[in-house]
């Protein structure tokens, strides 16, 4: 069964006259892994920001599960089941890795606003949080403060945190950036694993990962969609090769 989980119509974003996303019609099928690739500055992250409502579109609408969600504030979007990771890693630096993940687990269980009970009550979420850490290979660092993690591990932590929300649609902005080869492999596997009953939309520059994972690929350039299709299709597209992949395109 494939139906459309997310759809945009004529989505557009201008920054002081500069068009970063230009009338994009994107449609993401439920249960697939959908990759967005494109040259730097093509508007991929901006598109993510529009989808999660971190930015307000200049014009255009977004439809999620058949429902228009255009005006909602970002936290409502997350409530609906759309969660993102950030391109430039964004963790809670002085919380331990475990606490980082637990914040998300807590959110999913809707116990954030509870200010009358002890936080010890939260320990019941620890084992679940540890599970997510183990998924990304950070179990050894559960009690390390996030600042002290190396760059690559921070990114793994961020993915674990995102996963912990168990989102219906997960947006990953360059999940493997800054990771070593083994980690890239592990994250690729992880993404495949977690994609089982959810939809994943991701931006990625690592073509190996893209080729390996994605069901559909949308190529953006200068804010607009240049090509769309599976990997074989887009990797042969001459304009894509010229604008994005270059000579060594096939990883």
């Amino acid at each position: 069964m494939t139906d459309t989980i997310l759809e945009t119509r004529k989505l557009r974003k201008e920054f002081n006259g500069f068009v970063a996303v230009s009338d994009v019609d994107l449609s993401v099928q439920r249960g697939t892994i959908h990759a967005v690739i494109g040259p730097n500055g093509a508007g991929k992250t901006t598109l993510f920001n529009l989808l999660t409502h971190f930015l307000k579109p200049t014009t255009g609408v977004t439809i999620f599960n058949g429902r228009e969600i255009t005006g909602l504030p970002p936290h409502r979007i997350a409530d609906l089941g759309i969660v993102r990771s950030f391109q430039i890693s964004s963790v809670f630096p002085h919380l331990t890795a475990l606490e980082n993940v637990r914040i998300a687990v807590q959110r999913r269980n809707g116990v954030g606003r509870n200010f009358w009970t002890s936080e010890r009550w939260l320990t019941k979420f620890n084992s679940e949080a540890c599970g997510y850490l183990a998924d990304v290979g950070l179990e050894k660092f559960a009690d390390t403060q996030a600042v002290e993690l190396s760059y690559g591990r921070k990114r793994s932590l961020e993915i674990a945190t995102t996963l912990a929300l168990d989102p219906e649609l997960m947006l990953l902005d360059e999940p493997t950036q800054g990771m070593g080869h083994e980690d890239v492999a592990r994250i690729t596997e992880l993404i495949r694993k977690v994609s089982a009953n959810r939809t994943i939309l991701m931006v990625e520059h690592n073509l190996g990962v893209v080729a390996n994972l994605s069901d559909t690929i949308t190529v953006m350039q200068r804010g607009a969609i240049l090509a769309e299709g599976d990997y074989d299709h887009v990797s042969r597209h001459p304009e894509v090769i010229e604008a994005y992949m270059g000579g060594g395109g096939h990883a």
Partner: protein, 317 residues
């Protein structure tokens, strides 16, 4: 609260229990050693500073207008006590609730701004309160509300003598400290920490961060109001002093001096500053110099604040 009591109690170790019991006993015995009015005043400021620290220390919000809550509450409870003859606890409750309401208004305006802008908006709003206090009729202008009476608690228990009012204030104090502790060490407190660390990440995880900040702002304002309302009862005066920006500054200093990352540090800082002001009182301009010097030394050498420094030394989390 679904967690079994045993499971929680089990996490209290003997040291905690001892420290806690010791503190309670000390609190009960203290008025026999130290002048109770002074102690009550110190407790009021301690509540104020701890309430303030909910914002500064645990949510990363520097409010530079907290005197508005403290001061307006002190006026309102003074007025309720002397003009309406309301009982002590109701007057204080009235002041607390009003401060919470004021906090909701201030919070709604200020909360969307960050850092220094947040500080300046709160300052500006509190200057409005100052202006109102100076101009309004019921506040008595710069003469303040004088001769506030200590009405009986529940209309029954007489608290006109210092010792009985001390125990009344001590109960409020313990309640407020517990409230602060509870808020900080709660699931909500955990989210606040996360918001302070990275607001955008918290948002993307689905937290409505503005709402969280507003809630903590209101809690902090309410507790500041509790402190101010109680203070009017204690010193039996409500005056402009409590609504000036200098008072907002003083509470920042108390908090930093005591340790802003700690729950009870601000109380220690408050007590210390009140004590300094009290005992060095007759030295004139030398006091100013001395207090200034103490701040400089603290910032340079004990910057985690007194309690923060102690915790770091003795390795508690």
């Amino acid at each position: 609260m679904s967690v079994p009591v045993q499971a929680r109690a089990g996490r209290f170790n003997a040291v905690h229990v001892l420290v806690f019991a010791g503190a309670l006993i000390a609190l009960g015995a203290l008025p026999f050693a130290v002048y109770p009015v002074f102690l009550m005043k110190a407790m009021c400021f301690a509540i104020f500073a701890c309430a303030f620290n909910l914002l500064l220390g645990f949510s990363g919000l520097l409010s530079f207008g907290h005197a508005a809550f403290f001061g307006s509450a002190s006026y309102l409870s003074a007025y309720a006590l002397s003009a309406w003859g309301l009982s002590a606890e109701l007057s204080i409750l009235f002041a607390t609730v009003s401060s919470a309401a004021l906090g909701a208004v201030f919070g709604a305006i200020a909360i969307r701004r960050q850092g220094i802008y947040f500080a300046m908006i709160t300052l500006a709003l509190s200057q409005m309160i100052y202006f109102a206090a100076l101009q309004a009729d019921f506040t008595g202008g710069e003469d303040g509300i004088q001769g506030v009476t200590r009405n009986p608690v529940f209309g029954l228990i007489d608290i006109t003598d210092n010792l009985s009012s001390y125990y009344f204030v001590a109960v409020i104090f313990v309640f407020a400290m517990f409230a602060v502790y509870r808020v900080v060490h709660s699931p909500f407190g955990q989210v606040l920490r996360a918001i302070r660390e990275s607001e955008s990440r918290a948002k993307s995880l689905g937290y409505h961060t503005d709402q969280y900040k507003l809630v903590v702002f209101v809690i902090s304002a309410a507790l500041s109001g509790l402190a101010g309302g109680t203070k009017a009862l204690v010193v039996q005066v409500a005056s402009l002093t409590d609504v000036t920006w200098q008072m907002s500054g003083e509470v920042v200093l108390m908090t930093l001096l005591g340790g802003m990352g700690t729950v009870f540090g601000p109380a220690v800082g408050a007590v210390l500053i009140v004590t300094l002001q009290n005992f060095l009182n007759s030295f004139g301009s030398l006091v100013t110099i001395l207090i200034g010097a103490i701040f400089v030394v603290c910032v340079m050498l004990f910057r985690r604040g007194i309690l923060g420094e102690l915790q770091a030394r003795f390795g508690r989390k």
